[in-house]
């Protein structure tokens, strides 16, 4: 069994707070030593001071497998993930058919192991067919490996059902991820409700829609003792509501997509449907509040929100176009660009992609420590590059970052001690 040694890296481990130049030795897929390590019988990567972080954990990846393999498979998503420094991805249940039973879950986990270079985990559907009516086998699917449960993009409108879902899942200490959207208030919206969208003549969803649902769900989590993740925050109102809920000692956490940290509603420009997202991009003040939320730890997790869409779904009038953007290859670079702009704190950014999701999901990875899985990413924070959508490895190319200048990218991605992506020669 050959070993791998990374020499002279700036090791950044958010869990321990470590940030220093060190060497790492990997054996049998596990980090065996940190510090000054032996290079005997090992392949050596000379890091030359580049950042070595735990491999990123992306908790929100939509693929087309099964049902829409032309958009994305676990194999193409896995390749994109590896190129983006993501070593573990959690696949969302909104597939066709929906991941709402154990057999499909087992099948996808198996396919992921066979076809994807990175770790593939699944989230289970919270209700059967994501219809928001009958609960799924949360206990059995959790035992079979579903890391959390989500109703996809469709919020549970029925508060009594949401109460029962949180209560039932609390017996298994299961995490429930729920979109913070009041479905009635946001019905028919395709943009953020603002001066800008109203000038464009687009129907907007007010930020209050998000705030109302965060507050409702926080109240239900408090009532039931359930574990709640507020999925995809997009507004200052939402962040404030989450912060207040955390002050009340509720088991609540929040996530934000990289798109909402890096972009605002003006990126829609003249009806650019590639910047049409769900939740919608909001105002600059909202974006700033989301950045602050990550920096101060109110927002626990950053996700790519990877949502592959074909051109046919995107090249439509704005209100008819599909929402969503791919993000597995953008996530790290867009975040590092915000770090370079001195908006995001580097350690806080990495924590929201490693230690925090690992903690929420109960994963062993997401940290650099002796005995931890050797899921690692070597990062050059300085590389300037221009995003070209056509060069993405993802099965779909829909990204609002096409043509944008970014700074920083993954150089080497390692999963269980094996190099799955290597851009050192590039």
């Amino acid at each position: 069994m050959s070993a791998l040694v990374i020499l002279g890296a700036r090791v950044m481990d958010p869990e321990s707070g470590r940030d220093e130049i060190a060497d790492i030795r990997v054996e049998n897929g596990v980090i065996s030593a940190i510090g000054n390590v032996s290079t005997d019988d090992a392949d050596v990567i000379d890091a030359g001071g580049l950042i070595l972080a735990p491999g990123l954990i992306d908790m929100r990846v939509i693929t087309g497998e099964p049902g829409a393999e032309h958009k994305e498979t676990l194999a193409t998503a896995g390749a994109a993930a590896a190129a983006g420094g993501v070593t573990s991805m959690v696949v969302m249940p909104q597939t066709e058919p929906v991941i709402d039973d154990m057999s499909l879950l087992a099948h996808l986990q198996d396919t992921g192991r066979k076809t994807s270079p990175v770790n593939v985990y699944c989230a289970g559907a919270l209700t059967k067919g994501l219809a928001g009516e009958a609960m799924t086998e949360i206990g059995l699917m959790g035992e079979a490996g579903a890391l959390f449960f989500s109703n996809g993009e469709a919020p549970i409108a029925d508060s009594r059902l949401m109460r029962r879902l949180l209560a039932y899942s609390s017996a298994f200490n299961t995490l429930i991820s729920h979109r913070a959207v009041d479905p009635y208030l946001s019905d028919g919206a395709c943009a953020h409700e603002s001066d800008f969208s109203s000038r464009l003549g687009l129907t907007g969803a007010p930020a209050a829609s998000e705030r109302i649902m965060v507050q409702r769900d926080a109240a239900l989590a408090e009532l039931t003792g359930g574990r709640l993740l507020v999925d995809l925050l997009s507004s200052e109102d939402g962040v404030t509501a989450l912060r207040r809920a955390k002050d009340r000692d509720i088991d609540i956490s929040g996530s934000v997509s990289i798109n909402h940290l890096a972009l605002n509603e003006l990126d829609i420009g003249a009806y650019r449907t590639f910047a049409k997202l769900d939740p919608p991009l909001r105002e600059e003040s909202d974006r700033a509040a989301l950045i602050n939320g990550v920096n101060d730890g109110t927002i626990d997790v950053i996700v790519s929100g990877h949502d592959p869409r074909g051109a046919g779904e995107k090249r439509l009038p704005f209100d008819q176009a599909a929402a969503g953007a791919v993000g597995l290859e953008i996530l790290l670079a867009a975040g590092l660009t915000l770090v370079a702009d001195e908006q995001l704190d580097l350690m806080a950014f990495l924590r929201a992609l490693t230690a925090n999701p690992a903690g929420l999901l109960g994963l062993e990875s997401g940290r650099i420590a002796e005995g931890a899985p050797a899921d690692l990413v070597l990062i050059n924070p300085g590389t300037p590059w221009v995003c070209d959508a056509d060069e993405l490895l993802s099965g779909s190319k829909n990204t609002p970052f096409d043509g944008r200048r970014l700074q920083g990218k993954a150089i080497v991605t390692i999963v269980a001690g094996k190099i799955v992506f290597d851009a050192r020669g590039a």
């Binding site: 609960m135 086998e137 206990g139 059995l140 017996a171 039931t224 003792g225």
Partner: protein, 315 residues
């Protein structure tokens, strides 16, 4: 009947909460005498018992009918579906009508919690609650206690200090509520086990331990009372599926082994085999008291009818 000069003096049997420990001891003692084979003194000779069941029932109604008849009462079963209730008569009008026929004992089951308490204020006979909504089913709790008392006596034990787990749909169960009150009164250590969706949010204030895991909850239990899971609760509203429910909360040999070695199993019936209890446990005479509960049901109800009618006579 009296115990050290204390006479049973309750006009009705509406709730275990209306009884004190001595009342319960008197009832169980008399119940135990009726466990023996007849013939019995016809203490209800000339009395009229009306079974008024607003909800369907097989075993409870039959049990009361047999109990009344064994003690010589005239028993009339009111079929509510065919009655004026079906034509829209209110509960109190029905009560006034029946009262005018001067029954001595009125056994009532109703889907609304507290219905019997309301009815009892408007009639001059003894009212026996045979189940009201999700509130109480006191005769079931008493017959469960009688079953246990007899079974434990064979082992040289009694109810005091017994650890009893009540498992399943506590939220909708009147049997559970009556049993919690009665068993607490008898000095038992009571636990409730079920998914959080089927246990009332404030049940931990009932003087019981609340568990959501059978392995934790059944540890060192002497008795396991399983509750029936209503079919309409299985379709995703409270629990995902029968399969998942049985996996986590259905009593089989494996989960039975978490309890004490000689643990006894009870079920008020009717059972859903393969949902809350497996057949091999339910049918094992070494473990299961389920058939004995039905037997004790008749004896216990004879005692209840006897006791209430005596009070009626002395009033």
């Amino acid at each position: 009947m009296s115990l050290d000069g204390y006479a049973f003096s309750r006009p009705h049997l509406l709730s275990i909460g209306d009884l004190n420990r001595v009342d319960v001891e008197l009832l169980l003692e008399l119940g135990e005498t009726y466990c023996s084979k007849g013939p019995y003194d016809q203490v209800l000779d000339g009395k009229t018992l009306i079974n008024l069941f607003f909800e369907k029932s097989t075993r409870t109604q039959t049990s009361f009918e047999i109990s009344g008849k064994r003690l010589g009462a005239d028993v009339i079963n009111m079929a509510v579906e065919n009655s004026s209730v079906a034509k829209g008569e209110t509960l109190l009008d029905t009560a006034a009508t029946l009262n005018a026929m001067r029954p001595d004992l009125l056994v009532v089951r109703h889907g609304s919690s507290g219905a019997q308490a309301l009815l009892s204020q408007k009639v001059s006979c003894a009212v026996i609650n045979a189940g009201d909504g999700a509130h109480e089913h006191p005769t079931q709790a008493l017959l469960d206690a009688l079953t246990l008392r007899v079974a434990l006596r064979e082992q040289g034990r009694d109810l005091t200090g017994l650890r009893i787990a009540i498992c399943g749909d506590i939220l909708h169960s009147r049997v559970a509520r009556s049993n919690v009150k009665l068993l607490n009164m008898m000095g038992c250590d009571v636990r409730l086990i079920g998914p959080p969706t089927l246990i009332p949010a404030d049940a931990y204030q009932w003087g019981v331990g609340v568990y959501h895991d059978m392995e934790d909850g059944l540890r060192e239990c002497d008795v396991i009372m399983m509750l029936r899971l209503q079919m309409e609760r299985m379709s995703g509203a409270f629990i995902p599926s029968k399969r998942e429910y049985f996996h986590y909360y259905g009593l089989n040999r494996e989960k039975l082994a978490y309890a004490n070695e000689a643990a006894l199993v009870m079920h008020p019936g009717p059972m859903n085999r393969g949902v809350e209890i497996s057949s091999d446990v339910a049918d094992d005479p070494e473990v299961s008291l389920i058939t004995r509960q039905v037997e004790a049901g008749v004896a216990m109800r004879m005692a209840i009818l006897h006791m209430l009618s005596e009070r009626e006579a002395s009033a």
